[in-house]
């Protein structure tokens, strides 16, 4: 094993971090945006609202992300009407194909996470909110969702970490994010061991940062005063807010 090659590889691969983060953060944001209303539909007692969403999450959670990505990237490009429509401006670009696949996949998982949280909110709280005359939308946004979000935060953090790792699949549709660059580097050096160790180290760093961030958010939402010795800046931030 060649330690110098590992450090060299890390330097090269850091060039892919921006694309990895772009893909991950944008898909998580889009996934989040889609999943909040859909999670309420999924948690609804009405079959008409919950069944279509269940069908969606069932399909996207029940098939591999790689297959979804290939269907969107290689599959759609086979259809002449897609190539001739304005959609082709988006689907011609591998970035948007990957972004669409990741967003839809992430939304499916996030819907089920949030659905669990929404159903765990005690009915008494909702009734109390109704009693003081809050509108159904306000109850959902001000009472149910914040409580649900706090409950499922650890599971949502899992989804975020999972998305960082899943973004490596973008390398299969010619995108040069961390894994794409790593594969390119392997083809130049024939040293898969060193190069993929370097790539793994970078992913480990990213997932570490993500889990720390969620630890802090969890701590913040739990309402407990932050540990003064460990998080003096967090205490200040809170006081400032």
């Amino acid at each position: 094993m060649d330690i110098a090659l590992i450090t060299e590889s890390i330097e090269t691969l850091l060039g892919g971090v921006v694309l990895t983060l772009e893909l991950t953060i944008l898909s998580l944001l889009i996934g989040f945006g889609l999943s909040v209303p859909l999670a309420f539909m999924r948690a609804s007692r009405s079959q008409w609202l919950s069944m279509p969403v269940l069908a969606y999450t069932y399909v996207f959670r029940g098939t591999p992300l790689l297959v979804q990505l290939f269907l969107i990237y290689y599959g759609l490009s086979q259809l002449a009407f897609v190539r001739e429509s304005f959609l082709w401006l988006l689907f011609r670009d591998p970035f948007y194909c990957a972004l669409l696949a990741f967003s839809l996949n992430s939304a499916a998982y996030t819907i089920e996470v949030f659905r669990g949280g929404i159903q765990s909110v005690p009915p008494g709280l909702v009734e109390a909110a109704q009693a003081i005359g809050l509108s159904p939308t306000k109850i959902r946004l001000r009472i149910v969702f914040p409580l649900a979000f706090r409950t499922v935060l650890p599971s949502y953090a899992n989804e975020v970490v999972g998305m960082i790792k899943a973004s490596s699949l973008a390398s299969t549709v010619t995108l040069l994010e961390i894994t794409g660059l790593a594969r390119k580097l392997v083809s130049e050096t024939f040293a898969p061991y060193e190069v993929f160790i370097a790539a793994g180290a970078i992913y480990l760093g990213l997932t570490f940062l993500a889990s720390r961030l969620f630890n802090l958010i969890e701590l913040h939402l739990s309402g407990a005063p932050p540990d003064k010795a460990r998080f003096p800046w967090l205490l200040k931030l809170r006081q400032a807010l």
């Binding site: 490009s77 086979q78 011609r92 591998p94 299969t172 010619t174 392997v186 083809s187 024939f190 898969p192």
Partner: protein
């Protein structure tokens, strides 16, 4: 007698004297499986093609039992070095860069590579029947390449990852065109057909098969047929450096198959022309 002496000497020096009494040698050969007519996978999943036919023919001459396995191109050399299989027959060109990691047999075929571009891009016409060897460049060859470079600037080119074409494309057009790397030739030609990339540089026969397919009429050959340079002297069998007796066996089998015309017959069967190496 000389040959027997040599074999004995070899066997003794390698501490493999008992090999004479052993069962037939077992050799696992890897190929990529999506580069017809070199190698491809038939609808039942069986590996077929020139590499596979010649591989079995060489093994017959070596008295070895051979099995073919499929392996993605970008991992095909690392998996050989760690011992997942014993040899690579995938139309792989013998190059100095690869020789740093693995050994090669003598060339078993000599091929061509060419650029394919989508029609209707308004590119200046070129002579697609001309041949250009990149090994010894002169002023007129350089002029042809410069014309190509001007024609392709601003275009997007797809290329097979870890291939010599990738080296050539990066060297010749890396500064003027956008380069995208693909896992397989099939995925790459699909994107040429779809118009995600404007063209590609790859093995002549891989592209000929694509152009003759139903999706292929959107593109055409562009510029001269290329070989030499980073593509090296031809296609060889990749073998681990720690496996010199296998290289000797393959070299002998290739020489004999080339001598009696078996390689010529197989190249004519699969490629429609004689691509046997110089004798």
């Amino acid at each position: 007698m000389k040959k027997l002496m040599l074999a004995l000497a070899l066997a003794t020096t390698m501490g493999l004297a008992p090999v004479l009494a052993q069962e037939p040698m077992k050799v696992t050969i890897a190929t990529e499986g999506s580069s017809p007519p070199w190698n491809s996978t038939d609808p039942t999943g069986k590996l077929i093609g020139f590499d596979v036919d010649l591989g079995y023919e060489l093994c017959r001459r070596m008295g070895a039992t051979c099995t073919f396995v499929a392996q993605d191109w970008d991992g095909i050399i690392p998996a050989l070095t760690v011992g997942k299989y014993d040899a690579i027959m995938g139309g792989m060109s013998i190059t100095e860069k690869r020789k740093k990691t693995i050994d090669f047999s003598t060339p078993y075929a000599v091929g061509f590579n060419q650029i394919v571009m989508r029609k209707g891009l308004g590119l200046p016409p070129t002579d697609a029947k001309a041949k250009l060897n990149l090994t010894q460049m002169d002023a007129s060859k350089q002029a042809t390449i410069d014309t190509l470079r001007t024609a392709l600037s601003g275009r997007t080119l797809g290329v097979l990852r870890s291939s010599n074409s990738e080296v050539v494309v990066n060297e010749l057009f890396g500064k003027v065109a956008t380069i995208r790397s693909y896992d397989t030739n099939e995925n790459m030609t699909m994107d040429v057909a779809a118009g995600r990339v404007d063209g590609t540089l790859a093995d002549y026969f891989v592209l000929k098969t694509f152009l003759e397919s139903k999706d292929g009429d959107v593109a055409e050959f562009y510029g001269p047929m290329l070989n030499g340079g980073p593509w090296g002297p031809g296609a060889g069998i990749g073998i681990r450096k720690t496996d010199p007796q296998l290289k000797v066996a393959f070299d002998k089998a290739i020489a004999s198959a080339n001598e009696d015309g078996a390689i010529m017959a197989l190249t004519e069967k699969w490629f429609g022309m004689d691509m046997s190496p110089p004798k």
